[in-house]
């Protein structure tokens, strides 16, 4: 079933971590397997060559596989640091999020895709996001669990998207959890509720173009498709319209870029989305209860229609 949510503040920053966690916890019944958040913070230092990267070197479940895994994790973290140095990336700061995931700020003026590929070549390493503002966090458990684990309750920023997952066609692990970063494009992330029935055909077509997939989850296809479309010169909204024609199945997805939040609904309109919009704030979610967790009072909400694409700017 899965629950998706997104919010954007127009012209100001706010505690988007607390707000989105509250929305996602309200959607727990739609998917308790994993929770993920893509948040657009005020981390941008203003330097063109400075990035923030979220990555993991193992799955949480790996920790129960024996003593050796802890040494392997330490080795993988060291390898990441060495490879960054090898590519002349200057690490500004490193923070442990969990025993197997880190947040790293670094400066680098080379080919970001080459660097990302080199890092992901290390066994168990997956880059969850690289961006100027985007920070993508996902793990097993409900929103409260993930929020506490990664200390996200007071995350300041302009906009965010999130997902509560009920695993159906791929594993219960971080790799298959949403959101997906639109690798290798900075600051583009996607969450999705539904099924894409032409997943394998579309995936093979994109792989032939050189795109890589880290999971077998159909939602990743949307992120990669949008990345490919943006790469060919379309803007975000055009890419989203194009995606509605390209994908078969029933789906509603939410996408975010460095300063935009968007939603798209397929032509069958079989997956829910409720939308609240004011001059200062936009919130959307699979169910109104999620929006009401941020706005307890009565509000005007609508259901976007079939084939509808909407984009808002922060």
């Amino acid at each position: 079933m899965c629950g998706i949510a997104g919010l954007i503040h127009r012209g100001k920053t706010a505690n988007i971590g607390g707000e989105l966690l509250s929305m996602l916890q309200s959607l727990k019944h739609r998917g308790p397997d994993s929770t993920g958040l893509a948040m657009y913070g005020s981390a941008d230092s203003g330097r063109a060559d400075e990035y923030v990267m979220r990555y993991k070197v193992a799955e949480g479940a790996d920790l129960a596989t024996g003593f050796k895994i802890h040494d392997e994790i330490a080795d993988r973290f060291n390898l990441v640091r060495n490879r960054l140095a090898e590519y002349n990336a200057v690490v500004v700061s490193v923070e442990d999020s969990t025993p197997y995931a880190r947040r790293c700020r670094f400066r680098y003026d080379g080919d970001l895709r080459r660097l990302a590929d080199y890092l992901e070549d290390i066994e168990g390493v997956e880059i969850l996001s690289i961006g100027k503002a985007l920070e993508l966090i996902k793990d097993l458990g409900d929103a409260d669990t993930v929020g506490d684990q990664y200390q996200l309750r007071n995350f300041e920023g302009t906009h965010a998207i999130g997902h509560t997952r009920m695993a159906t066609e791929s594993d219960v692990d971080i790799r298959s959890a949403h959101p997906y970063w639109a690798y290798p494009f900075l600051d583009v992330s996607v969450v999705h509720n539904g099924q894409l029935t032409n997943y394998w055909n579309s995936r093979r077509a994109l792989e032939r173009k050189g795109h890589r997939f880290m999971s077998n989850c159909d939602s990743e296809l949307i992120a990669v498709y949008l990345a490919d479309s943006i790469d060919r010169g379309d803007d975000l909204e055009e890419s989203m319209h194009r995606s509605l024609r390209a994908f078969d199945g029933v789906f509603t997805y939410v996408v975010a870029s460095d300063n935009k939040l968007g939603m798209a609904k397929d032509y069958m309109a079989a997956k829910p989305m409720v939308l609240y919009e004011s001059d200062e704030f936009v919130a959307l979610a699979s169910e109104e209860v999620a929006i009401r967790s941020v706005f307890p009072h009565e509000i005007e909400t609508i259901d976007p229609y079939e084939g509808e694409v909407r984009v808002w700017q922060s």
Partner: protein, 276 residues
């Protein structure tokens, strides 16, 4: 009552234990209600605050107030909770001051329900009789499989409105989404605004009236001619709920089944028994 139903040959089987059935009575003295209906006084009212309570607790509270004889119940702060006001098989004036989530007012048979806010997906699913009136918007699968009563949304509704409806009337003040009236089998739907793609797709019977633009008809949905009798009926219905057709009732477009996919008769199983 048992005699009436058996003499009409509707329920000849003698069922016992868990399979025992108790049938609806059509006799006025039996209050046209389910056998377990409670006698309520509409002048006796009660308020329930849903704030901080689960849907189950609120629904149990509604039932308890009915057992106390309250015929008018107002629920405050429903907070878009799911499954509120469901399974009410009784005459009752029930008012929600706010919005409901998914599956609100489903399986109801008799109550008149008014909602001052909006409703989520699947409002009034399987409604048998009574009225449900929503002042704002509604989500998708609005009035799925209803069999009777009036279901009214004064705003816009999502897709698949009246999917599989088998009777009753659905009235929409604004727009409806794609696949409205999908596999509709009976009843009437009045849409005063626009209708989305595939309107009336695979409908077996029933009628859809549309005041605005239709994005596209579904398989086997065809245009039909309005009659004066229908116009009068629609005017009366709209007047009951304070609605108006923007371009006049006589200019509504009437859609019905082309019956090219029609491969069974339109009778309910119990009615079939009567005929046979």
């Amino acid at each position: 009552m048992a005699e009436l139903t058996s003499t009409s040959s509707m329920h000849a089987e003698k069922l016992t234990g868990r399979t025992q059935q108790i049938f609806f009575s059509a006799v006025e003295s039996d209050r046209l209600a389910s056998p377990h209906a409670i006698e309520v006084d509409f002048a006796k009212s009660a308020e329930i605050d849903a704030e901080g309570r689960s849907a189950r607790e609120v629904n149990q509270d509604i039932a308890a107030r009915m057992r106390d004889g309250c015929g008018t119940i107002t629920v405050l702060n429903p907070g878009a909770k799911h499954s509120l006001g469901v399974g009410i098989l009784n005459r009752l004036n029930l008012n929600f001051k706010g919005s409901l989530g998914y599956f609100g007012c489903g399986l109801s048979d008799g109550p008149n329900i008014h909602i001052s806010g909006r409703v989520g997906w699947s409002c009034a699913e399987n409604m048998m009789s009574g009225t449900v009136v929503i002042e704002k918007n509604a989500g998708s699968t609005f009035g799925a499989a209803i069999r009777g009563g009036d279901l009214v949304c004064k705003g816009d509704v999502g897709s698949r409105t009246g999917i599989d409806m088998k009777g009753g009337t659905i009235i929409i003040g604004g727009r409806t989404g794609a696949f409205s009236g999908f596999m509709m089998q009976r009843g009437r739907m009045i849409v005063l605004g626009d209708a989305g793609q595939n309107l009336g797709d695979s409908m077996y019977d029933g009628i859809i009236y549309v005041g605005g633009k239709i994005a596209g008809l579904g398989v086997d949905a065809v245009d039909a001619e309005m009659t004066e009798l229908e116009c009068d009926w629609i005017r009366r219905k709209l007047e009951m709920y304070g609605l108006e057709a923007p371009n006049g009732v006589e200019n509504l477009r009437k859609i019905e089944s082309g019956k090219q996919l029609w491969n069974y008769d339109s009778l309910e199983p119990t009615e079939k028994k009567l005929v046979l």
